[in-house]
Structure formats: structure tokens, C-alpha cells
């Protein structure tokens, strides 16, 4: 599963931003995603799962050590290739492969339900592809979402 991220053709629209490993940085990255989508004629509403996934991943990094690394910045790249929106998140916090996490508790009663692991579970289920690699002391997570045909990206919008 943990294959290398897909090779990006030089002509593919790509934007890279650096955000602080803090709640403000999470907000900034979300705004950058909205801007990237708008710049490429994509309706942010249609790609809401990418917003949820980005929020889950970045808030995890902020909680679990992004700020303990050498570089308190998180690198976030957005790439669009036809209907595929790909986001790469790179941080130098402790090694964390979300694909290795056990699944969350999805069935017990409300009194026994433990909410742990839900964020990563949502990322895996909402995205079409999730790839992880540890390279050069950094976590590289690549998530890909195929914008559904029922939600044509930005048709008829300014």
C-alpha cells in the first residue's frame, strides 16, 4: 500500500504552501485549499471530503508532535490532474504511518464508544487513495480524491 507518491508531470498545476504546526496553520491550509480549488474551477463544496481529510491530518500533526520537530512548519502541496485532487502533507514530527493504525470502535453502545482513531478512519474512507512514506526523517502523506461526476467541478461558475 505504501507506494511512493505518484510522479507529477511538470505541467500539472501544483501549489505548495508552508503552514505553522498550530491551529492557525490548520485554518490557513484550509483557506489555501479553497483558493486552489477556486483557481482551478473546482467547487469547494463538491470536494468537501478533502477539507475534512486535510483537517484531520493537520490537526493530528499539531496534536502529536509537529511542533516538536526541528521545523515547526508543515509543507502542503495541492495538485490537480483532471478530476483528481491530490494533497501531499509533509512534516518532520515523529514517524507516524496512519495506514498502520488499528480501526476504530464503530459498533459499541454510546456508553462504551471510544472516539479514538476516528479521524484517520475518516481520511481512509473519504479519500480514494492514501499513501504514506517516511523519507529523510519526514512523514510524507499523499491523499487523492476523485471529484465525483455528480458534482462537476465548477461548471457555470465565475
Amino acid at each position: 500500500m505504501a507506494a511512493s507518491p505518484a510522479t507529477i508531470m511538470p505541467s500539472t498545476p501544483r501549489v505548495t504552501v508552508f503552514v505553522a504546526a498550530s491551529p492557525a496553520g490548520v485554518v490557513a491550509a484550509g483557506n489555501d485549499l479553497v483558493r486552489f480549488q477556486a483557481d482551478h474551477g473546482m467547487d469547494p463544496e463538491a470536494a468537501w471530503p478533502v477539507h475534512v481529510a486535510l483537517d484531520e491530518i493537520l490537526s493530528n500533526i499539531v496534536r502529536h508532535g509537529g511542533s516538536q520537530g526541528r521545523d515547526p512548519l508543515i509543507e502542503v502541496s495541492f495538485v490537480i490532474d483532471s478530476a483528481d485532487l491530490e494533497v501531499t502533507i509533509v512534516d518532520d514530527g515523529p514517524e507516524f504511518d496512519p495506514l498502520n493504525l488499528p480501526g476504530p470502535d464503530l459498533t459499541s453502545s454510546i456508553d462504551e464508544r471510544q472516539p479514538g482513531g476516528l479521524g484517520v478512519h475518516l481520511v481512509k474512507r473519504l479519500m480514494d487513495r492514501v499513501e504514506y512514506a517516511r523519507r529523510g526523517g519526514r512523514n510524507h502523506l499523499v491523499i487523492t480524491y476523485h471529484v465525483r461526476p455528480s458534482n462537476p467541478p465548477g461548471l457555470g461558475r465565475e
Partner: protein, 114 residues
């Protein structure tokens, strides 16, 4: 985030507006916790204005639901949009909550005969 609150008889309707994610869910948690502290124990959370919800928002709802059960109150959710409903489904949350289509139905279910 904006959170509208409105009393309908004994029921307090709490309606957050916008996205319920890692940076905004705390406001909803505060509103609901304050309501519980003030012994509001019949709560409706109206999702009409919520664009999407992440796991932090789910956690807030789970915490509040547990507290309401302990206090023998009732919590009903309503007007979940497609995005919110899909996340509830993936998280296995649909069976945990009383959910109605519309606010008036939720109020009736929250306080029957009120």
C-alpha cells in the same frame, strides 16, 4: 463560528453555522456544555447550516450525548446534510443518535407533549 440558540418551550435548539472542524468545534462544545451546566437537558442540535463535520465535531457530540444520558435528558439531531450524514455513517454514529429530518420533528421527539 456562529451558533444560534433558540428556546422552543422546554427544548433548547442549538444551530451551529459553518463547518464543524478542529478549529470551530470548540465553540459548539462550549455552547452545549454551558447549556448542560444550566440544566438544559432537552437539546436539539440543528445541522441545517453545517457544511461538513470532522472527527472533533463527532467527539463533541459523543461527549454531550453521554452526559445527557447520565442526566436523563434527551438529545435529538436534525437536518443533517449529505456531507454530515456521510461522515456520521462512516463513523458508525447513525445508530447512536436520535435523528430527525426537520427541526419541528426533532423538537416534538425531544419533548413529547410539550
Amino acid at each position: 463560528m456562529d451558533i444560534h440558540q433558540d428556546h422552543q418551550g422546554r427544548v433548547l435548539v442549538v444551530a451551529p453555522v459553518g463547518r464543524l472542524d478542529s478549529t470551530t468545534s470548540e465553540a459548539l462544545e462550549q455552547a452545549l456544555t454551558t447549556a448542560l451546566d444550566q440544566r438544559e437537558c432537552q437539546l436539539v442540535v440543528d445541522f441545517e447550516g453545517v457544511t461538513y463535520i470532522s472527527s472533533v465535531g463527532l467527539r463533541v457530540l459523543l461527549t454531550v450525548a453521554k452526559r445527557i444520558r447520565e442526566g436523563h435528558g434527551s438529545l435529538v439531531l436534525c437536518a443533517l446534510g449529505d456531507a454530515v450524514r456521510q461522515v456520521f455513517e462512516l463513523a458508525g454514529f447513525l445508530p447512536l443518535f436520535s435523528i430527525e429530518r426537520a427541526r419541528d420533528l426533532a423538537i416534538t421527539r425531544c419533548a413529547p407533549g410539550a
